[in-house]
Each structure stands twice: as C-alpha cells, then as structure tokens.
C-alpha cells in the first residue's frame, strides 16, 4: 500500500530494468517532451527560456505540493486560487515605505492556514464533501476579497517580493530555489516522517487508520492547512513574478494543481503518490504551454492541446495501474 518500490527493495533478486523504468515513466515523459520541443524549436533550450520555465514552475509547484498532501489523504482543495489571491492582496495593504513588508508575509500565510483550518474542520468534523467545503470557502474568500478591495485591487507589490518572485541568483530564478527548498522540506515530511506515513494511511483506508489509533481528523485538517499555507506562499510568489495584483490572481491554479498531481500519479482516491512525481507533473504542464507558445501556435490551441494531454496521460496512467 505504501511506496511501490518497497517489496522489491526487500527481495534479494534485483528488480528487472523495466520495473525501474515503469516506476519513473513520468521522468521519461518529461525528458521526451523536452527532447521533442528542442528538436522542433532549438531556442527551447536557451538559458533564458529555461530560466523562464523554471520561474513559471515555481508558483504552480508550491501549490502542487499542498494539493498532493490533500489528495493523498482523500481530499481535494478547490480554494487554492482564492487563497493565493487573498494572500497577494494582503501584500499591498501597507504602503511601501512603512517597513512592514516582512511581517505582512506572515499575515498572508496566516490567512492561508486559517482557510485550510476551516476546510479541514468542515471536511473532517462536519463530514462535508471536500469538493463542496473548499468550493464554499473559495466563494466566501472571493467575496471577502472583493468586498475589501471594492472589486479593484490596487497597490504595488513591495520590492522584496518582486525580487523573490522574479529575481535570480547566478541565472537561477529565486522563486525556483524557494520551490526546491519547500519541496525538500515537504519531501522529508511526506516520505520520511511518521506524519507522512499517517497521511498515506488515512488516504489508503481512513477506517483502518482510525482502528490503528491514528487521529484521522487531525491528519485531514493538517493536510488542508499545509495546502492553505503553501497556497498563500505561492500567491506571494506569483504576485512577485507578475508584478501586479488583481482579484483573480492564481485563477485556474486549483484545477491545474490537481491535474499536475494526477499526471504525476497521485491517486484521486488517496493513499498513492509521490511528491517528486507530482512536481514533475507540474513541470510537464508548464513545459507544454511554454513550448506551444514558442512554436507560435495560437494560444487558443494551447488550451486544446493541454486538455488532450491531460486525457492521454491519465489514460496511460490507468492502463499502467491495472
């Protein structure tokens, strides 16, 4: 039920090469995508384009980490985009000169955690379906945001966040470095800690987890809080990347993060998946849209293509699993 590699690790006979490839098909797919894109348009591999792709992966990747936690515990978080925008709007509350730029990020994250807490309590304690609970908080948050900004969010993104979102160190985008750091921390949390095991167990079978004495409710609530907190971070990063703030910042990220996680093999039914794979799923989504733009294909066609890819990859995943 846990990591797929476990049985083969314990056996003496080394696993056949095919099983190794099979478990890591997502990387093969990503590399193939890069190869094909480069073959069609060599400038795909230019330093500037790679930096571009990496910094576009960052906000989505941060969100995918949180979404994966929620999905692994049999949940679903649709409130992500709303949380991102709320966190970003908060950034502009204080005037640039006031020196409150650092505390403000904590306020943003706090909003994310609070949203996650509400989601988690509704799902775990009130038994509301995750779809509806997070849909409702999404709507409420959107209403609050628009009420507060009176429909038009204004104000500038503080310089510090501009640097975090769009700056680079030796050519490597800072936001991508942040993603890697967050990814590493949550990889340890998910794949190397007892808490991570509990997340997998709750997703695999909540009833069994309850019987073994795991605080199922607490695990579920914590996954939503992780997702909410990370969504706030992603909102700050995206606002820094874009440079302006509007009430719909992060629109579509809730569904894209689900798609990325599913492409990466995270089961919508919970209990199965891995963080690196999910992040590679996010990379694939970004690479596809980047390549299509680079090829000069109309943007509308990009939407069609990403839809077809989602179905194709999911169909492939299914046949692999069965």
């Amino acid at each position: 039920m846990m990591a797929k590699g476990l049985p083969s690790k314990n056996s003496i006979v080394p696993p056949p090469v095919w099983t190794l490839v099979k478990g890591n098909l997502i990387y093969v797919a990503a590399l193939a995508l890069v190869a094909v894109s480069t073959a069609i348009e060599p400038s795909f591999l230019s330093t500037s384009n790679i930096a571009n792709i990496l910094s576009q992966i960052a906000p989505l990747g941060v969100v995918v980490i949180g979404q994966s936690f929620v999905l692994l515990a049999r949940g679903l978080d649709l409130s992500i985009a709303s949380t991102m925008a709320a966190a970003a709007v908060v950034l502009t509350v204080f005037p640039r000169s006031s020196g409150y730029t650092v505390p403000v990020i904590f306020v943003s994250i706090l909003i994310g955690l609070a949203t996650g807490l509400v989601n988690g309590v509704l799902v775990a304690k009130r038994k509301v379906s995750p779809f509806l609970a997070t849909l409702a908080t999404m709507i409420v948050l959107q209403g609050l945001r628009f009420y507060w900004t009176q429909g038009a969010a204004t104000g500038e993104v503080p310089a510090l966040f501009r640097t975090l979102g769009a700056g680079n160190i030796f050519g490597v985008p800072i936001n991508f470095i942040i993603l890697m750091a967050i990814g590493a921390v949550f990889w340890v949390v998910l794949h190397r800690s007892s808490y991570g095991r509990r997340v997998f167990m709750v997703g695999g079978s909540p009833e069994a987890a309850r019987l073994v004495g795991i605080g199922v409710d607490r695990v579920i609530i914590s996954t939503y809080m992780i997702s909410g907190g990370l969504a706030a971070v992603a909102g700050v990063l995206l606002a820094g990347y874009v440079g302006t703030i509007d009430g719909y910042l992060g629109r579509g990220f809730e569904l894209q993060s689900i798609v990325a996680a599913v492409i990466g093999g995270v089961a919508l039914t919970g209990g199965q998946g891995s963080l690196p794979h999910a992040l590679t799923g996010a990379a694939i989504l970004v690479i596809v849209s980047n390549a299509v733009l680079l090829f000069g294909i109309p943007v509308q066609f990009q939407i069609v293509l990403s839809g077809l890819i989602v179905i194709a990859v999911a169909a492939f995943q299914r046949t692999k699993a069965s």
Partner: protein, 319 residues
C-alpha cells in the same frame, strides 16, 4: 396517530434528507423576502426568479444524473460556451437556419457527452480528469472559433427565452416538467434504476453484469444534451453567443445538485432536490439584490449558505 407517524416516516424515507433542509430554507428566505421588500412577492418578481433559474437548472439536471452515477462533469461550462458561439455563429441572423442549427447543436452536445462517457467507462479514467481535459479542449475550440461574441439570431428567436403566458415564463414551466419527467424516469424505468445501482457500487454492479458502459454513456450524453439546451437558451436570451457564455456554469451547476441532497459519492439523491436548490439560490440572490447588498457580499452569503446547508445534511447522514 401511529398511522400518521408511520406514514410520515415512510414519506421521509422516500424523500432524500436534503430536500427538507432546502424546502425549509426556501420558506424561511421567502418570509425574509416578504418582510423586507414589497416587491418580492409581486408576480413580476416571482416570474423573474423563475426565469433566472432556467439556465442553471437545465445544466444542473444533467449534472445530477452524472453525480448520481458517482461521476462529475466539469466540462459542461466549456461545452455551453462552444455551443453558444456555434449556435449564433452558424445561424447568423438567418431564420431558415434556426431549426437545422439547433438540431445539429443538440446532437453535438449529446455526442460530446457520449465521448466523455466512453472515455470514463472504457478507459476507466477518473471523471474529474476526463471532463477537465475535455473541458479544456472544448473551451479552446470555442476560442478558436471566435474570440469575441459572434453572429446573431433573428429577433423572434428571443421569444424562446422570454416567452410568457399570463405572466408565467413558459420555459421555467417546461424545465420543471422535464425535472418531473426525469424523476419518474429515475424511479420507474429500468435504465433509471441502473444509474442508482451503478452509482451506489460500481464494482458490484459490474459483477452482477449490469451494463456499466451503456449507463455511464447515457448519463453523460444526457448532460451533454442539457448543455446544448442551456447554450441555445443563453443565445436566445442574450441574442448572441459568447465564447465564455458558460464559464460560471461549471460550478453553478454542481452547487444545487449537492445542496439538493445528492451525494457526490453517487447512488443517493434525486433531481427534485436539485430543482428546489436552484430556486433556493435564485431566491437568495433576488433578496440580496433587493436589500441592495453588493455582489461581493452576495458571494459571501452564497458560500455561507452552501456550508450551512451541506454541513447540516451531512452531519445527519454520517453514521
């Protein structure tokens, strides 16, 4: 007394729990409406409410069937967008083309639904992923066809949306009748019972040899058909098709289904709860409009109502 209690209990068993919550909330909200505004109970306003629910309730009808099978249709909004630009773009003010184009659009909607259903049933991909993907394809197609509102329909076509007999909007009545028809279909017809059986437990339904694929395809094509009808309705209402016409329908067609007591896990619920929930949401928005509440606060209220109603239902049903 015993008979009455027994009868009531039996009645309650037949009515899904959600319906009672929704009915109660409709009554409560209506009382609020009557007390806070003289306009609320006027025939004209009530007709408006009925008219405003048509698009959502047509979309939610198909969505209910799908959710009863344990699936979900996230592509319906994009389907409506595509079909609405196609309808007005192809008719392009020519009265002679109205009937053939509408028939073609309806067939296309059903066909798109059938493809969704086949992908889900045959390839066993999660419905959320399939319809998310096909939704992107459809939205992209709509934008490829036209980036702006396009074409137009003859003025008489607008009567479809605004037609009234003695002040009663005909289409709202027809929609309600369609709901009753589908409710009877779900209750009395074998194919309708299959939807419940498969939604309740797809695995054992498969083991007993029930036609899984056929039922799933039926439900999704019904939703595609509803999407086509909603698209035609929107075109007749606005006089033109827009490439984002159905954007809100994706979520606004799901909310009333769940509010109405249909479980997202499938196999429990029914269409009448959905219809009532559509009216509940319309009445809520109507009252908030009269109270001069900004649309932002309307959003907040809608979210809170959803949370309230659903957590009331679910806490009753769990264990």
């Amino acid at each position: 007394m015993v008979d009455l209690a027994q009868g009531l209990r039996r009645w309650q068993v037949r009515m899904p729990a959600g319906i009672w919550t929704v009915l109660l909330m409709i009554v409560a909200l209506s009382l609020v409406g009557i007390y806070t505004s003289d306009e609320f109970s006027r025939v004209r306003n009530l007709s408006n409410i009925c008219e405003q629910t048509v698009a959502v309730s047509i979309g939610a009808l198909g969505q209910t069937l799908i959710i009863l099978t344990g699936g979900i249709d996230l592509s319906i909004g994009s389907l409506v967008s595509l079909l609405s630009v196609l309808t007005s773009g192809l008719i392009n003010q020519d009265p002679a083309r109205v009937v053939p184009v509408c028939l073609g659009v309806i067939a296309t909607g059903a066909a798109v639904g059938a493809i969704n259903g086949l992908l889900i049933a045959r390839l066993r991909i999660h419905p959320m992923i399939v319809t998310l993907g096909s939704g992107a394809v459809l939205q992209g197609a709509a934008l490829l066809y036209s980036l702006t509102p396009t074409g137009g329909v003859p003025p008489e076509f607008e009567n479809v949306a605004y037609g009234r007999v003695y002040g009663i909007p005909i289409l709202a009545v027809i929609t309600a009748l369609a709901y009753v028809g589908v409710a009877l279909f779900l209750k009395r017809v074998y194919a309708g019972r299959l939807i419940f059986a498969i939604g309740d437990n797809p695995h054992s339904a498969d083991l007993v040899g029930l036609p899984y694929t056929r039922t799933i395809v039926l439900a999704y094509s019904a939703s595609g058909l509803c999407g086509a009808l909603a698209a035609i309705y929107l075109v007749s209402r606005f006089g033109v098709g827009q490439p984002y016409a159905g954007e809100n329908l994706m979520l606004s067609s799901i909310t009333p289904v769940i509010l109405g007591g249909t479980l997202l896990t499938g196999g429990r619920g029914g269409v009448m709860g959905t219809l009532l929930a559509c009216y509940l949401l319309a009445i809520l928005n109507n009252i908030l409009n009269f109270l001069d509440v900004s649309t932002y606060v309307q959003l907040i209220a809608q979210g809170l109502i959803v949370i309230g109603a659903v957590s009331a239902q679910f806490s009753k049903e769990s264990r």
